[in-house]
């Protein structure tokens, strides 16, 4: 069953850039009418988690004072995210460090795994990103209300506004707060979707030019150079989108920790 699905993944004669986003079931499970099969998306999410745990676990297993190469990389990643959390939320924001670090590492590994040929990009489906963004907003609202009580809703009434404008400003603030999970998820989703479609379109140009015959064959290497440039851009975007997701998580959590700033 596993071999058939891998076979179908490699032998798909796809000529359009959308075919890469199709979900294929690897193992079919139904629980009470809900389809909870193990798809290629689940497989790559599992691979991202396993890779992250193994790499970071092995790197930090021997906490030598003079770090080895792997340990330095893990320490750089830790220091990068910890610096970001401390900058945005202050020292008492470090209690959210596990959440922010897990989000950053998961999204980074999921994006990077999608760069390999024939691998599926899990973050190119809106449902995955929406789940992550809703998790962040649930933590923000839940922690904000648990810690501050109803003073949490002071973030909707910014200080320094003349009272007569509250009728206008508060609905606008509420709508802007409600659009946070939407923009957080759609930013990552659209970047990954657009990037991978662009990759396949440029790669398709190479083949189309080379098979057009005549003088157009000379343009095929130009298209190949363009493809290489787009691949480099996509690696940058993969890291950048993970960083932006993490830093926006810190900004939103700061609202829960210190409302009314």
């Amino acid at each position: 069953m596993m071999l058939e699905s891998i076979n179908s993944m490699i032998n798909q004669v796809a000529t359009d850039p959308i075919h890469q986003f199709v979900l294929n079931k690897i193992a079919d499970f139904q629980i009470g009418g809900f389809d909870v099969s193990f798809t290629n998306s689940s497989a790559f999410m599992l691979l991202a988690v396993v890779l992250a745990v193994v790499l970071l676990g092995v790197a930090s297993s021997k906490s030598a004072t003079i770090p080895s190469r792997g340990q330095s990389i893990a320490e750089i990643a830790y220091g990068f995210v910890a610096g970001m959390v401390r900058d945005m939320m202050g020292e008492d924001g470090m209690k959210f460090f596990p959440l922010v670090f897990s989000l950053f590492i998961f999204i980074f590994f999921a994006n990077m795994l999608g760069m390999f040929p024939y691998f599926f990009t899990t973050t190119s489906h809106i449902i995955v990103n929406m789940a992550l963004a809703l998790l962040v907003m649930a933590v923000v609202i839940g922690y904000g209300i648990w810690k501050n009580g109803f003073k949490f809703f002071k973030i909707f009434v910014p200080s320094g506004v003349p009272p007569v404008l509250y009728l206008l400003v508060t609905p606008i603030e509420i709508i802007s707060f409600a659009s946070r999970p939407l923009s957080l998820s759609v930013r990552l989703f659209a970047n990954m979707l657009a990037g991978h479609i662009m990759l396949k379109v440029f790669a398709g140009f190479v083949i189309m030019l080379a098979s057009a015959g005549g003088a157009l064959i000379l343009l095929a290497p130009v298209a190949l150079a363009g493809t290489v440039a787009v691949v480099a851009l996509e690696f940058l975007v993969a890291f950048l989108q993970a960083y932006v997701f993490a830093i926006l998580t810190c900004v939103y959590l700061n609202d829960a920790l210190h409302p009314g700033h």
Binding site: V186, R187, A194, I197, Y243, V244, L248
Partner: protein, 74 residues
């Protein structure tokens, strides 16, 4: 008729990139202006630069998303 209008809609959605391009150019131009005035403080703001760029570019990509939705999901 609706099939053809989908492509018109997808083309119109590309106007979103106009605003996004202006925004991204603004961000980098302000950064360069300020970096030329105060070069030693420029490195400290690099994180904010990259963050501002990503958030602004996202809006242009939302427009691209509308085009893709019109072409493939409607």
């Amino acid at each position: 008729m609706e099939e053809g209008l989908k492509y018109v809609g997808a083309g119109l959605a590309c106007f979103a990139m106009f605003g996004a391009a202006l925004g991204v150019g603004n961000i980098f131009s302000s950064y360069l202006d300020a970096a030329m005035r105060n070069p030693s403080a420029a490195q400290g703001q690099f994180g904010n630069l990259i963050f501002g760029f990503a958030v602004t570019e996202a809006l242009g990509i939302f427009g691209f998303l509308i085009a893709i939705l019109l072409l493939f999901a409607v």
